[in-house]
Every structure is written in structure tokens, then in C-alpha cells.
Symmetry: D2
Subunit: 433 residues, 4 copies
């Protein structure tokens, strides 16, 4: 979480202020559940709420420097502000009841922000895919021209992937929508399952199936790896934009704002820096997923090794992805597409991409596939090496014309036939957000 890459809502979500406010919410929710279970005097939580405590994070830090325990510092501070009623807070609870439940509340909020953003990103992709559903483009595998697609089909592929990202984020949200108010080692020694259910339901959470001292960390691992997978999807788009924008391709480029400068040395440059930035950030998400996976195997009923990790990756990973989603959406919305250049590149190989149609036509005449392959390849190579016109070359090849007449050869060079399913394909993502 560095200011440069931190959306405002994420800065607020992960502030000390919000964290301690959520802590108080959780304590009060637990307190109210205990009131209903007659473990705590009725009205305790209401009395504290009524005081509208102005928590001071620096004071909590100060206390923590002595007691070396953040939750005790927090409770001490609440007691300073709220007086005697506060002694009922945290009754029968362990620090992790508070911390893990609060972390769940914060991660769920973060996840909601990520889901909303992913939906917006998908919508942007779908809109641009629809706009360019029939804009022809050369499809490339290995960076080499393959057969025609449309720019819309390319974007629809990204939209479909991003839409899977929505589902993955929802599943990830569900994984961590789990709190715990079950006492020191999860046995409800001084509390009850009913109190836990009651307290958590008010917070939008459900109880951990079987808790230790903490909510199990396989949930958090699943959460953070999901973020890495979603980020990798954005990385794929960013990588493609970087390819499209290179001078020799020039098919699309990032919007360039007025006043923007591309290079301190070279005034002519317009670089795909947003996309390159997204590429780097996707690497960070992979890096953040790793310690989350290592956190799973806590010792016995828990050790606290996950804590330092989560203090860093919970804000860092969610913020990084949120920033990426905002940036990726804006990138897609602003992407400048050059249809003439798309057409120019498509035509660069003189219809070589129709070679498969010719191969199939030859096979249909009864020729063995491998023999047909040789026939087509020799004309293709002639075109590639000697700059010969592929169609003319085929028409002049007696072995080819012996099997295919001119009409069948020319029929193979039909772009609209090759792209006849483009609109249908793009249509598949139209409802995906």
C-alpha cells in the first residue's frame, strides 16, 4: 500500500481508524449477543454505543508499547473512554475472536469493493468487444500470424476470463465470510455456540465450522490466491495491449492525455505504461499469495506467524488488485483502436492464413492430410521467402490445380466466411456482468 497505487476507499478501509471502529463493532455485537444470553447485563452495549467513543489510535499504540499486546491495549483504551461498562466487553473471548472476526469484516468489505470493480471492468470489456465485434484482425499464435479473428472476439476472450474472475472473487469472499466468537481455543468454555451465531449474523458472517484459537487459514490462503488468479487475468490483457501498441503492430494504444510526456529524452514516444504497470502489479499479487499459502500450517491450536503476514498482505494485496481493476477498466474504456491498421496487418501476409482452408479443400478431394500439407506449405514458403503472391502461386501450381479448380481455390480466400461466428462468440459475454 503506497499512496501511488492506493484508491481512496482502500486507504480508508485499511486505516487505523476503520480498523479500531470495526473492533468496537465486533466487541459490541458480541456483547449484545451475550446480553441476550443473559451473560452480561442488558443495556451494556447500548450504554457504550451511546457514548459515541472517539477512539484515538495513537493512544492505543502508546498503551501497546507497554503491554505489547494490541487487543489488550485497545480494550484498555476503550475502558479509559467508556468507563465501568467496558469491563463486560470481550467477556469469555480471546483476542483472536476479536481479531479474526474483524479481519473477516474488513476482508469482506474489501472483497465487495473488488467484486464491484471487477464487474465494471467486465462491462467495459463487453462494451468494447461489442463495438468491435466485426472489426477484422489477424489472430496470432506464438506472435506469428495465424488466422483472422475480430478485435471484438479478442476482447470477448478477456471479458469471459474477467467474468470468471467475478465468480472467483465471490467464492473468495464466501471463503472468508467467517468469524469466530468461541473463546481461547474454540471450545466455548465461557460462551456458547448460540452466542457466536447470534453475534456473527449481525456482522454478516457465519461461524467457523470447527475453530482452533483462530479461523482456519486455508480460507485466507484461498482468498489471496484467488486475487492472484484475477490479477493474472488482467496481466493477460495488459500484455496484449503492450503488443498491440508496439510500433510495428500499432493496432491499438492506451489513451494519451494532454500534457502527458512519454520520455524524458525522446519527445516522440508514447509508451504503454499503464499496461506495463499492471504487469508488474500482477507479479506482486503472486508474491502476496505465497506467504498466505505458507500461513495455513499453524502450530497446534494456532501460532501467530500469520499475523505479521496478514498485517501486510491484507491491505497490500486487496489494494493492489483494486488499483489494477480501476486502471484496467479505464485502460479498456480509453483504448484507442486503429481499424485500418488492423486491416493492414491482416493483409500483410497476402492471405497466407487461408492456407488451412486450402489444406481442407485438398483433403476433401481425397488427398492424404500430410500430402496436402506439403502442397500447401511449399506455396506458403514461396510466398514467405520470395514474396510471391500466395493465391497466384497456388493457381500456378499444377499439383494444386489438378485437384482444385480456380473457383475452389478462390473460394478459400473468403474473410467473411472465416469470421461468420464472430458476432455469436462476442454475444456469449454480453450478459456476463
Amino acid at each position: 500500500m503506497i499512496p501511488r497505487y492506493t484508491p481512496k476507499d482502500m486507504a480508508e478501509l485499511w486505516s487505523d481508524k476503520t480498523r479500531f471502529a470495526v473492533w468496537l463493532d465486533v466487541e459490541l455485537a458480541a456483547c449484545e449477543a451475550m446480553e441476550r444470553a443473559s451473560l452480561v447485563p442488558t443495556g451494556t452495549a447500548a450504554a457504550i454505543r451511546g457514548k459515541q467513543l472517539a477512539l484515538e489510535p495513537p493512544r492505543i499504540d502508546e498503551i501497546e508499547r507497554t503491554v505489547k499486546h494490541d487487543v489488550i491495549a485497545f480494550l484498555t483504551h476503550v475502558e479509559e473512554l467508556a468507563g465501568a461498562d467496558a469491563r463486560w466487553l470481550h467477556r469469555g473471548m480471546t483476542s483472536s475472536d476479536l481479531l479474526d472476526t474483524s479481519l473477516a469484516v474488513l476482508l469482506v468489505r474489501a472483497a465487495d469493493g473488488l467484486i464491484t470493480r471487477q464487474v465494471a471492468y467486465v462491462r467495459a470489456l463487453v462494451a468494447r468487444a461489442t463495438e468491435h465485434a466485426t472489426t477484422p484482425m489477424i489472430g496470432r499464435s506464438h506472435g506469428i500470424h495465424a488466422e483472422p479473428i475480430t478485435f471484438g472476439v479478442a476482447l470477448a476472450g478477456h471479458a469471459a476470463e474477467a467474468a470468471r474472475g467475478i465468480e472467483r472473487l465471490r467464492a473468495a469472499r464466501d471463503e472468508i465470510s467467517v468469524g469466530k466468537i468461541a473463546g481461547a481455543v474454540g471450545t466455548y468454555a465461557h460462551i456458547s455456540p448460540e452466542i457466536e451465531r447470534d453475534a456473527l449474523s449481525g456482522l454478516g458472517l457465519r461461524p467457523e465450522t470447527v475453530a482452533t484459537q483462530v479461523v482456519a487459514r486455508d480460507r485466507h490462503a484461498a482468498f489471496f490466491v484467488a486475487l492472484a488468479v484475477v490479477g493474472a487475468g488482467i496481466e493477460r490483457l495488459a500484455t496484449n495491449v503492450r503488443h498491440w501498441q508496439r510500433n510495428e503492430v500499432g493496432e491499438a494504444e492506451e489513451a494519451f492525455t494532454v500534457g502527458q510526456k512519454g520520455s524524458s529524452a525522446m519527445p516522440h514516444k508514447r509508451n504503454p505504461i499503464l499496461s506495463e504497470n499492471l504487469t508488474g502489479l500482477a507479479r506482486m499479487l503472486r508474491g502476496y499469495a505465497l506467504p498466505a499459502l505458507e500461513d495455513v500450517a499453524l502450530w497446534h491450536e494456532r501460532d501467530i506467524s500469520h499475523s505479521s503476514v496478514e498485517r501486510m498482505i491484507a491491505p497490500d494485496a486487496t489494494t493492489t488488485l483494486a488499483f489494477m481493476q480501476d486502471r484496467a477498466r479505464a485502460l479498456v474504456e480509453g483504448l484507442v483502436v486503429y481499424p485500418e491498421r488492423l486491416r493492414h496487418n491482416l493483409e500483410r501476409t497476402g492471405g497466407l492464413f487461408f492456407s488451412e482452408a486450402l489444406l481442407l479443400a485438398l483433403v476433401e478431394t481425397g488427398l492424404a492430410r500430410q500430402d496436402a500439407y506439403v502442397l500447401v506449405q511449399r506455396n506458403a514458403m514461396k510466398a514467405l521467402k520470395e514474396g510471391a503472391d500466395f493465391r497466384a502461386s497456388l493457381l500456378a501450381d499444377a499439383d494444386v490445380t489438378a485437384r482444385l479448380g480456380q473457383a475452389r481455390i478462390e473460394a478459400a480466400f473468403d474473410l467473411s466466411h472465416a469470421l461468420r461466428y464472430a458476432t455469436e462468440i462476442v454475444g456469449r459475454v454480453s450478459g456476463s456482468a
Copy 2:
């Protein structure tokens, strides 16, 4: 995949023999769909099936050394064996139609094996958890005695985590139950969406929403990270067994078979080697997940950088997890539990773990929480430092007895009360596999 860690079914699944058999299945399924669509003469696939081709992997390798393309080598070999009919195979398809669809078939089979194993592992955990639902044990956080749990509750926590693993494997299976028969760049240039659906449904797969030349690799990333998460859950169990077995704890240990030797130098040793082995293998699964995440951002309509990765991690990761599941299940089934030792360790701190009950009792008398904490801690520290009896110490502390009478102090030392929910907790996992 080294023999030492490879279950027999996984060795077969990832053999050349199986791979090429699946390739032939996919080509024939596609051929039949094309027959139904009248693109290929009816009976072609049936004729080839009738010949019961005995594919020879070494011959395919030999051809590949010349053509440097595995699919072309395979098709050439099929043509050698099946004759002219084979020219209809692979019609309008690209290599990835065959490869990705086949990979999906293989990964789905692997996933089925993993799900079955995970279910067996959960069952073993549930059985042992039920057996020890009320066997008391000290719960530990930070490796330090906290409050009592039961051995069954500890195992139930692992069972609940492993049961989530079943769901994650099912979700992962679903992610990659996707094939593609859509031609060079996914546009059905010489084929149709209907043919794709038809061919894939016979193979138990569904079509990629929007394909490029390949099935999108976010799916595979999601698959392999899921394996890493499931493996991390097993690692948590393994870590706990390693703790339980250490001399000073001695609460449970791995079954030791007749003839087994613990050390080449020290005849008295019985080491938790299965669990340590599982710990190492969980690391491998994390290592395999990483390149899968990097594979997502393929260039344009695909590059082939994912191929070398998947040739290695598809067998390695699925096999490693399958081996882990088998081993973990056997470990749980054979785990030797020592209830007397559990009881001995529980009592080691002289009931210090009842300190929270005393803290709460003091708070209930109206004492501020932090003051109560100080009162209890000073008696706890006396017990820890000077070996004083905790209960006696409390009974002799005037500040304590001024607030709590002897009866209330003694009532706090009630193990069965502390464990009253153990059976209910264990019950939560009873139906989880």
C-alpha cells in the same frame, strides 16, 4: 513424478500410453460430431475404432524427432496404422483443440482421483475425531498451553479443513472441465459451435466460453493453486503430528511397522517421517502453483510457454497431491494416540488454564477487567516461577478471596464444564464426507 511418490493409478494416468489413447478418443469424438454435421463421411470414426489401433509411443517419438511437432507426429502415426480413413481426423482442428481437450480429460480424471482420496482422508479424520471426541487434551497456542480441548476437537478441525478441500477440488475440477474444438484461433473457421458442443459433451466436457487458440489458462492456474491450498491443509495436520510425537509431548505418534528402523545410527529412534515427508511435499505443491499462475498471460491468441510447464506440473502436482492424500489418510488411520499422556500433559500446569474462568468470575464481581487480570496473573506467575499450586495460591490470596469465596474458586476448576461442547463440535464434521 518419481516412482517413490507415485501411486499406481497416477503412473498409468500420466503414461504415454494413456495420453495417446485419450488423444485418439478426442479425435474420434470430434470426427463423430463432424460426421453428424455431414462434414466427414459417416462411418469414418467407426471404421478406425474397428481397427483397434495399437499405438506405439516410441514410433510417435521417432516421427516427432523429424517433424518437431508432437500432434503432427501422432496423426502421422495414426495414418500409418489406420490408413486412408485417418485423413478425415483432425479436420478443421488445430493442435490445441486436441491437446487442450485431452489435457482437460486427463486433469478431470486426475481430479476425480483426488476427490475420491480427499473424501477418504476426511472420513479417516472424522472416524478418529469421533473416537476421541471426549479425550481431554491441552489446547495450545504459540506452542504454549492455553485451555483444554479434546483430541477429537483437534482432529475435527482438520476434518473440517479437509472437507473444504473436497469442495475446492470439485470447484477446481469444474474449472478445467472445459475443452475446445474451435480451430486455429477459436473462430470455428472450418467447424461450428454445434460440432464443438457435440464432441465435447461425449467427453464429459463443456466448451470454452470464448477460446483463443487454447482454453484460457486462468482455469489451469485456479486448478493448480487449489491443489496447493489442499496440500497446505495436509501440511497443517502433518505439522501437528510432528509436534504430538516429539519426546516431550508424546501424545500421539505415527504407526511404526515391524522391521522399520528409525535411524541408521540410533536404534532407539521413532521419527515422524511420514509427516515430515508430507510437509516437504506441500512445499512442492506451492512451487508447482507458481508457474501455473505465470502461464495465464499468454501472448495474443496464445503462445506455447505454458506447454513445458504443464508437461511437468500436470503429472507432478496431481501425483504429489494424490500421494499425500493416500499417505495422510493412512497416517490418520494408523495414528497411535496416548490418552494417559494427553492427560498427563494437560495436568502439567496445575490447572493454570482455568485462569480465564477465574478472571471472568472476578469481573462478574464488579472488578475492572484489567485489575482482575493482574490478580490472576500474579498467582499464575507464582505457580509458573515457584512451582506453587495455582489453586492453593489463589485460595491464599486475600484480594482474591475477598471477592470470590472458596466454592467459587473451586468451581472454576471444572474440566467437564470447559469441554461441554466438545461432542457437539465434533458432530459438526460427522457428515462432511
Copy 3:
């Protein structure tokens, strides 16, 4: 970099203030070199230095919001403050000349801090190893008692590992002590190799052997993976402290400060939280190393995907390690060692660890090794299972006494013989920092 885990010097090093000050240093160093090469009017840099510019990071950020280029924003701001002379700055340079050279300066400073800290950490380990060079302790493999060592030998192992860390940090520092003042794509189009050498030598750097637009990122990858290796060494110590401190072992524990509270619920707890914290942070260092490795393969003469990564990991990884080193050193210095408990645990197995001495004695009588193993193991198992006294059991075993008389059996139970090399071993690390 979160305040909780950020040493003061690291906060300063990675502040905007320091960064821009280093940028100015680099520009002025380059300017001076160009003055000496007569490319820039003599006295330009001196004139700017004379103005003691008070750079304002917020103003630079403001300009960047328009020009979307941090270096151009910086130069514009310098021109605002320094006036006309500033037009000579950055002459013939590209942004990366400034950025990469500055990053090198900052990373070198960070590395110096890390090396100093690692030396202090090694010294602390050596001091405590020396103190306990002959304090007997049971050595453990697999968490199971093996043969005796001393506490000093255990710490000496950590010291030796940490001393290797010093070397690794020095090598890492050397890897990134490399700047670049070579223009847009490293060809010195408007500059010269002499200017580069001259400018960099004043900054304590050497030129990149062959630059692209940037210093090659294999250097940074090597730097950040070195940090992860060093962190893993600290993790090993932390893991051992966590073992030593557990109730059942109790051989050593973290210093517990006055006022510190172990648990919000359980007043009796003293948890190894420093060590657990170090364990988590070591995971973070692994997570930070990963994107650095992915950054190596920049496109062509560079893409900027490494930039977002380095903005985050350069401060985060160096700060995390610095914090770990400080904490680990303090942990070692304050570690409370319990020699009686060490002795108690050592004796827990009734001398079973002398089984190897007995094995060897039997082999020396001419018995085959495997037969000897069986003889010793059966007495060891009797001791383990039935609580029999190992020595007595051996003395009562006719097969053993037939080969070894009482004296030779008893001679095998000699602790001082087993530990006769302990002081020599500890001595090996005495000069290592």
C-alpha cells in the same frame, strides 16, 4: 513498509525526501562529469549546489499529475527552483540513467544497513554460543531425542549460518552497486563511457557492463533472493526458539518485559511472539523475491513492468529484513536459557542416546552391524515401552553381556566424551563477525 515493522533509519532512507535528494545528487554528479568533459559549462553544478534547493515532494507530485512522468516532474521542479542553470541537468540522459543510478545508491545504503545489522546479529549469537559452549542439551532430529549437543553448539550453528548471511549480503550489495549514465538505450549517443565512469565513481558505483535502457534486472533479482535466503536463516532460529519455549520443553524463552501481557484471555501465558513474528516476516521476504525474479525478462531494451514492483519491494523487502535483524539480535541477547531444564530433558530418556556408542562397541567385538542394531534396539524399545532403565536392561541382556562386559557397557554412558568437541566447534564461529 508499515510503521509497526519499520526501523527509523529505513523510514528515512525510503522517504520521498531522501529519494529526491539522491536524484539531485545523481543529476549533479552527472553534470559535473559532463563539465569535466566540456559538454556542459563549468560551474553549472556548483551554482545549483550553491542554491541549496529545498525540494518539495508534494509539488513534484502535483506536476506529475499533469505530465504523468515522475522524472520530468522532478526536473521541472528543479528548474522552478534553480532557474536557467538547471537546463543543463539530465543532458543526454534518459530517465532510467537517473532512476537506476539512484536506486543503486539507495539499495547500497540499505544493504550497508543490512550488513551492519547482520554483523550485530552474528555477534550476539557468537556471544551466547560462547556463554553456553559446554551447557549440555539433547540434540533432536525429527523432534525426537537423538544424541547430546550443547546449547552453545546449537547457537553456533545459527551463528555460522548468519555469518554466511553477511557474505551473501555483501555479494548482493556488490551485485547492485552498478549505475548507468549511458543515454536512452545505453549507447552513449549524447554522452560517453568516460562521463559515465566519472559520474558513477563519485557515487560509489561502477557502470553496468552492457546496459540496455536500464541496469540489467538479474542484479536486482540476485539482490532480493539473497534477502530471502538471509531471512530464512533467521526463520530457522525463530523456529527453534518457538520449540525451546513450548511448555513441555521449556529450555529457553524470549525475554518477557515488565508490563507485557501474553494473552487477553489467559493471564498465565508467555508466548514466543517475537519468534513467531519473525517466521511470518521470513515468508514475506520469499514473497518479495518472486516478482524480482519475474522482472528479469524485460522486453527489448526494457519495459517498465519492473518499476511498480520495485517501488514496493525495494522499501518493503529491505525494511522487513532490517526489522527482522534488529528483532533477532535482541531476541538472542535477551534469550533466557534454563540449564537445569536442558539437563532435565537430556536425562529424560535414561541415556538411550548412548545407544549408538553401544552399537559401535558391539560392532567392534566383531558383530555384524545389523545384528548389533537389533540387540541395541530391543533394549531401547524395552526402555521406551516399559520404562525399563536402559543401562540396567543392557546389563541384564545375556547376548549383550556375552560380548561386552559391564565396564565397556558403562563406559558407553559418558556424556563428557560425547561432548568433547563442543568447545572446538563453538570456537569455529568466534571470529565470524
Copy 4:
């Protein structure tokens, strides 16, 4: 290690046959050292050597299935073959003395193979860099044309990076050139430091400074991360080849062998599959480095969690890198370079890359840098957007000509001046292997 990616020497190195042969070597070296120290009857090792034992790996596996301990199985088998003398083998040693020392022997041999290969790879790069030292090419940052370089300079950058790889591999080799013959927990209980030194020196190894039961795993972590860094360097080359080969660039391409087929569907395709393959394998090396880093923090004097990891990554990582090096070397040697295409692309932007020279010329006239930037950028953008000739545009811009006469404008368009250091730069790597 799959056959497809396994060089022959690596297959042999990591065979069971070689492993057991090395084990025997280590045992005999230790035996001889003990003979010299009079712990074992003189002539024991010589007698066993004289028998030229034909070790049978399957028989060892068979024994292991009973004893569940590989070293004991090995020693039992040796005793079967060698008879009574063999009882002196392994005297006072623990399994790890044998295993870790043998692993060091194998890793050192592997490292030697990797170093040799890396040298060959560097040589190939240097040769091709020298060949093309003055072949002009457009340098690119962000995939966008920047300023001219030469193809030789580009390759020299790779050569310099690969040469650093040689040093890293040497350092890595040195890290793991360490054995251990120090008994159960490294204390020489039944052995001596002299014996260890003596035995190891014959094997080309030095003793671990302070061993636990094992050689410390920070060494292996450093080894495997070094492989990942070296692999990432190869990945950078592979990535650039993939860019160079794309249709729109076409500056260089992988050699295409006779008979090779690029696509099963498209006969015209020539794909950079070697480079893509290398990219994927570099990911694998990162994946293998990770568990090695997690292996460092073994428990106490060791646990065996590293063993399963190393059984897999020791062969897999070294073999993968060896394969990559062979392939990368061949790729470089066979790389087909197209100088005309390089020239064509260079000229594509009509000399826009001279914009910096113009910028500097304007600054030299006394214009503020940012004003000069604006002047040049507007002409550059005109060229980019409207296809105007950059030089003509500048000559027609009154603001420009007011400051620079025609001669100075034209002088800025001087390619040979821009590339005057190319030969010197390439020369820097000439002696690097």
C-alpha cells in the same frame, strides 16, 4: 525430469546407479579416513573396493520396503555383497553424513555441467554479438522505438548477463561443496574433525562449519535460487527472440530445420517454439527455488522435510537448467538474423529517434529544456499522426530554424555518430567466458 527435457549426462547423473555408486564412494572415503585414524582395521576399504561390488538398486528398494529407511537398506545390501568387512562401513556415522555428503558430490557434478554449459552459452552470444557489432537496429523501450543500437549490442547485453550467470553458478557450486562426516548431531561423538576433513577432502568437499545432523539448508536454498536467476537471464533472451521473430518485426528467427512443421493446421507458420519453451522452463526454475527456501528452517538439529523436496528438485532443477542452456546455446548459434529487416524497421519512423539529438541541440542554444521538449514533440507528433517527414517538418518550423540552422538540424540525423561506441560496448564481453 521428463525424458523430453533431460540431457543424457543429467539422466545418468541422477540415476539410481550413480547415486548408489556415490554413496559407496562416500562410505569408502570415510572408511579410509577412519583407517588412517586407526578406528577401523587398515585395508577394510581396499578389500571392499577390490570386490568391485555390482550394486543392484532394485534389491536396495526391496530391502527398503521392509526397513523403511533407505540408508539402512543400502548398507544391508552392501553387507550382502561385500561380506563381513562391510560392518566397518558407516562406523560412527549417521545417515545424513552419507546422504548430505553424497548430495554435495552430485550437486557439485551437476554444477560443473551447468558451468560448462553456461560458458558455452556465453561464447555463442559473444560470437554472434561480435558478428553483428555494427549491424544497426532500432532500440526499443516499452516495445516502442527509442534510439538506434546494434544487434551486437543487444546480444552483448545478454552475454554480459549470462557471464554474470557463470559467476553465480560458481558461487552456488561453492555454497554446496560442503559435506559432513560428524555423526548423529554433528558433534563427532564417535568420530573426529580430522577424520571428517580427511574423508571430505578426497571427495573435493570441505566440512560444514557447524553442522547439525545435516549440512545447513541455507546453502541449498542459495544454490537453487541461483539457478532461478540464471534461468531468468535465459528467459530474457528467449523473450526477445520471440519479439524479434513476430511477423511485424521479423528481425531474427529461430533456425527452422528441414522437415519441421510449424502448425498442424497452418502450413505457413514458423513459430519461435524453442524460445517459448525456454520461457516456460524459466518459470519452473522459479517454482523449484521456492521449496528450497522453505527448507531452510528445519526443526532443531534437523527434520527430514527437506528430503522429499530435494529428491525432486535436485534432479529437476539442475536438469531443467542444463536443458535450457543447451537449447539457448543452440538457439543463439542458429539464430537467423535479417539485417535488411533490421534496417527497414529502423527507418520506419523517419528518423524520429533523432529527436533527442535535436532536443540537446536546442538546449545548447540556451533554450530551457522543457521548452525545447515542446518544440521537438510537436514536430514528432506531426510525423507520427500525419505521416509528415520529421526532418522536413523541423526544417519548416520557424521556431526551430530560428535557433538551429539547416546544417545543425541535418547534423542531428547521423546514425554513425549515434552508434560510435557500439564496437567498444560489444568488446566489453569479448573475454567474458
